[in-house]
Subunit: 97 residues, 2 copies
DNA sequence: GTAACATATAGACGAGCATCTATGAATAAG
DNA sequence: CTTATTCATAGATGCTCGTCTATATGTTAC
């Protein structure tokens, strides 16, 4: 049973610079926590904290492997939430031909 | 000269229940501040505060008229920001046929 | 088992935010 | 001009959040 995408939780996930950086970094490939922390200017616990948030929001896939944990962005959730936002807040906009 | 849509500011605008309610209420029609405050469970200054935020984010159109001020959601900004989010965070999702 | 490594959790702290009350500014009505 | 109405602004307050350090948990290597 999939978690229902809450529009406010989705927006809150995006409403932070570090979290958006994390999402970009693991958008299209699996990334370990250490990799993420290494390229960001925050500590490892801070990265773990943000990853927990993204996990709660169903915005990342998780794959534990040995002593590392790999994360990858859940693009389906992003697309679903963006679609809902469009339906709610841009119903009169139509796709360019 | 149009303000550039900042994805974090856009997300922060959506990351609050009251602001999402306001956006829904003035999505497709002009609404005065009094109307909005009347239907929401917050005070008029709180509504004005949120409208100022949405104004800064270029998310509403404003039309002063006498002693009232009418607001309407700027759907173009919403669509533009959602499009950017899709490009950044859901590049592998393709439209259903 | 012990040591080293990778991640998660706990607790603390400071900044930011959503809300309120009180008040200012602008407009309409009398 | 005075009063009433509508909205915006200022200041205060309590709560949330992002970050840190310290530590716990789990895993691999020896």
């Amino acid at each position: 049973m999939n978690k229902i995408a809450d529009p406010i939780e989705f927006a809150r996930a995006l409403a932070d610079h570090t979290r958006q950086e994390i999402m970009k970094m693991c958008c299209c490939e699996w990334r370990s926590v250490g990799e993420l922390a290494g390229e960001l200017e925050v500590t490892q616990p801070t990265v773990s904290h943000h990853l927990a948030f993204l996990r709660e929001a169903n915005l990342v896939h998780v794959r534990p492997e040995g002593r590392q944990t790999f994360y990858m962005l859940n693009q389906d959730t992003v697309a679903s939430c963006c679609g809902d936002l469009m339906l709610n807040y841009a119903p009169d906009i139509r796709e360019p031909a």
